[in-house]
């Protein structure tokens, strides 16, 4: 079981999962951390919400994204939920929730605020027909995440020469 952590997000990955936590270089504006986790090899050049990856999924696979939004989203209606979802059920997944409709797959998406940070959690099941088996994997992944308060880059906190 591997543990990875960066940018205030730590994941103790369940068996079979791999993942990455990164911040894309900002061409315009500011970018925020993204966590991607999957039960299949994650290509490096995929979109934040899995475009380019979900087409590679097998029926027994799971893909999920934890996407942080800017602090201006805190307190808005969309992120009113406090804390990540837990104990997702089969009915939480629907083929209509997919960002890109792929026959056989289904997804779920949640917006919430945790540790003062606004997030979206998006998960895709490789086969909606196997959701009874796959949803517990998503729940295990969700429970493995630790979301810390955002780290503010305070100049006084930076290391300095004596």
């Amino acid at each position: 079981m591997a543990t990875i952590g960066a940018h205030g997000i730590t994941a103790r990955l369940p068996a079979g999962f791999e993942g990455r936590i990164f911040v894309r270089p900002a061409t315009v504006g500011v970018t925020y951390p993204v966590g991607q986790f999957a039960t299949f090899p994650i290509p490096d050049d995929i979109g934040d919400f899995g475009s380019g990856a979900v087409t590679l999924m097998g029926p027994s696979d799971v893909f999920s994204t934890l996407f942080e939004y800017g602090p201006e989203s805190v307190g808005t209606a969309l992120f009113a939920r406090q804390g990540r979802p837990d104990a997702l059920t089969e009915s939480d997944f629907s083929p209509m929730t997919l960002r890109r409709g792929i026959p056989g797959q289904s997804g779920t998406q949640w917006f919430f605020t945790e540790s003062g940070r606004p997030f979206a959690f998006y998960a895709v099941l490789g086969s909606h027909a196997q959701r009874a088996v796959l949803v517990p994997h998503v729940n295990t992944l969700l429970s493995s995440l630790t979301l810390s308060p955002a780290v503010t880059d305070v100049p006084a906190a930076r290391p300095r020469w004596n």
Partner: protein, 258 residues
């Protein structure tokens, strides 16, 4: 006057001894660096190192190499990355490289250029360096092209008992076990060994159906059950147990389309 000459001679002798000692210690350091594989001067002008025998353990008939753990660490840019080697039917080739070893230079280029490397299809390449505690991320970043994952993890070097760089481990994703490991001095040797491993495993693909949208096995059965239930055909329905062709085709036999 005599005392001055004696004193000067003594000082000159003392300085000479000091200089000789410094030269000797410097030579020892250079010799040790050379033994560790660190180049001195212009690498392009240096003669090519003698070929090292390949000790890549063949996948068939070799000793059991054990399970392959996941590789988790950070990227040269400070992001986090974990690579599971048991979550596909493909091979994963782990290349344990260093930013400073002269023997690694060719592999840094080759492993990040799949066309040049000519590895078998569906072979995933991951480069693993030691962690930021042992490597300078900026130097690793300078060698990374972004085409393959580069993970900095000292723990992975310990997990895989890497004796030094370059070192390679081939993992069969279908079993999650190492099927070969060792060193290679030339890229072509590494390619051939991976091809041999794939050939020894045989063709026929894996069992996960990755990249194939059709369902198979239990998934296909579950999907069929779901569609039948939605149509009102439940377990035990008489239509599931035809006795004659007329039960299947009550309106006559269909004509196959051309």
């Amino acid at each position: 006057m005599v005392a001055l000459v004696i004193g000067s001679t003594f000082v000159v002798l003392l300085l000479g001894i000091l200089v000789a000692g410094l030269l000797r210690s410097h030579a020892d350091i250079l010799r040790a660096l050379h033994d560790l594989g660190a180049g001195v001067g212009d690498p392009s002008a240096a003669p090519a190192p003698p070929p090292v025998p390949v000790t890549f353990t063949p996948p068939a008939g070799g000793p059991e190499l054990g399970a392959a753990p996941a590789v988790a660490g950070v990227t040269p840019t400070g992001d986090a990355r974990a690579v599971a080697v048991d979550n596909s039917d493909d091979f994963t080739l782990l290349g344990f490289l260093s930013s400073g070893c002269t023997g690694c230079a060719a592999f840094w280029d080759a492993l990040q250029d799949p066309g040049r490397l000519q590895l078998p299809d569906r072979t995933r390449v991951v480069i693993v360096t030691k962690g930021p505690d042992r490597e300078i991320p900026a130097e690793v970043q300078a060698k990374a092209t972004g085409r393959v994952p580069v993970v900095m993890s000292t723990q992975a070097w310990l997990d895989y008992q890497v004796p030094g760089s370059p070192f390679f481990v081939l993992v069969d994703g279908a079993t999650g076990r190492k099927v070969g490991q060792g060193v290679a001095s030339q890229v072509a040797q590494l390619t051939e060994l991976v091809r041999r491993a794939e050939h020894d495993r045989g063709h026929g693909g894996g069992t996960r159906g990755r990249g194939d949208t059709s369902l198979a096995g239990p998934a296909r059965e579950a999907a069929a059950d779901e569609v039948l239930a939605a149509a009102g055909i439940l377990p035990g329905d008489p239509s599931l147990y035809p006795r004659t062709l007329d039960d299947v085709f009550p309106h006559g036999h269909p004509v196959p389309a051309e």
